[in-house]
């Protein structure tokens, strides 16, 4: 089985290929309703999570809301 190396939140990770944004969230056990995903500084809207394919070396940011003022 193939693997991709992507940068998720600043750290290298191996993910099973082929991969999409949604698969990545599942792999990380994250609920898509609570996070927002950006690939290479492009935001992936939630309905497009399945269509957003990951490529080797992609820089992925997964953010959510935290306490702040």
């Amino acid at each position: 089985m193939n693997e991709l190396t992507v940068i998720v939140n600043g750290a290298s990770r191996q993910v099973p290929a082929p991969a999409t944004a949604r698969r990545l969230l599942e792999h990380l056990e994250l609920d898509p309703r609570g996070v927002v995903v950006e690939i290479n500084q492009r935001i992936i809207r939630r309905p497009q999570l399945d269509d957003a394919h990951l490529a080797e070396g992609d820089r992925i940011e997964i953010v959510h809301f935290v306490g702040g003022g």
Partner: protein
């Protein structure tokens, strides 16, 4: 004093409205720096706030999910106002704002473009640029700024839905440094003015509202009180007090005493 005259009707206050949306409270509160989630929730409740600010940060992939704020804050109960805290350029702030909007709750953003790590004062150049960009994209921009009237006027022109001048630096608790500056901004702007940052205790909040502004946003004054839920309650009263006093119209100051009891009718006076 006659008993027949009617007291003047106290005008009912209008609710705070930003970007077309009405809010039930003029007190907006942050969600940072609380010791526990339970303490935060108790404080949010006691404050009576409807709008609560949140920050956008990376999910910590190495830790459990417990810190996800949405597990604590019900988005149906609270109006989540995302901020761009920690951003030092217009581009960075715009990026955070866009991410926040994708979370799907609303188009509001509390826009911060910080100019300096020590004072966390805003970079008004970057702020104006980001305000223009985001307003054009349909965001309801609440712009965190300093107490400079000229910048506030430009922010309004740039499309800000509300202007948020500081009382004093973020987290300082120094209170309202320039009542004059804040009052002047309020008098000149058409969009709501929400004072953000620097309020340290209830009298600061009360004095701030007495300048006529539309609301106050605070975080540290609550989270760092000895008893945050009690301070939340205090601030709820303080904001109401300041607002009502502003509407009621205070008595004049005078450097002379004036008795509250009648000067005539004293004993042993000789009748004329």
């Amino acid at each position: 004093m006659t008993s027949t005259a009617q007291p003047p009707r106290v005008e009912l206050d209008q609710p705070l409205t930003i970007g077309g949306q009405q809010f039930t409270s003029r007190l907006l509160v942050g969600t940072g720096k609380y010791r526990t989630s339970a303490e935060m929730l108790a404080t949010l409740e006691s404050s009576g706030a409807e709008v609560v600010t949140v920050a956008v940060r990376r999910v910590d992939l190495d830790r459990s999910n417990e810190e996800s704020l949405l597990h604590v804050l019900d988005p149906d109960r609270w109006f989540l106002l995302a901020n761009t805290a920690g951003c030092y350029s217009a581009a960075e702030a715009v990026r955070y704002a866009r991410l926040a909007r994708e979370a799907g709750f609303n188009d509001f953003v509390k826009l911060e473009v910080i100019g300096d790590k020590d004072t966390l004062l805003p970079d008004v150049e970057g702020l104006l640029e980001a305000t223009k960009t985001l307003a054009a994209e349909g965001f309801v921009v609440l712009a965190y700024t300093n107490d400079d009237l000229i910048t506030a006027l430009k922010l309004e022109d740039a499309g800000a839905a509300a202007v948020m001048p500081l009382a004093s630096p973020i987290g300082s608790g120094l209170g309202l440094l320039s009542p004059y500056g804040i009052r002047t901004i309020k008098q000149r702007l058409a969009v709501p003015v929400i004072v953000d940052a620097g309020v340290g205790t209830a009298s600061d909040a009360c004095l701030t509202m007495e300048q006529g502004v539309d609301g106050i946003l605070m975080n540290t004054a609550l989270a760092e009180a000895d008893h945050p839920p009690a301070m939340g309650h205090a601030m709820r009263h303080a904001v109401a007090a300041g607002r009502l006093a502003y509407l009621a119209g205070r008595m004049p100051r005078r450097e002379i005493a004036v008795p509250s009891s009648p000067g005539s009718g004293m004993l042993d006076e000789q009748s004329s």
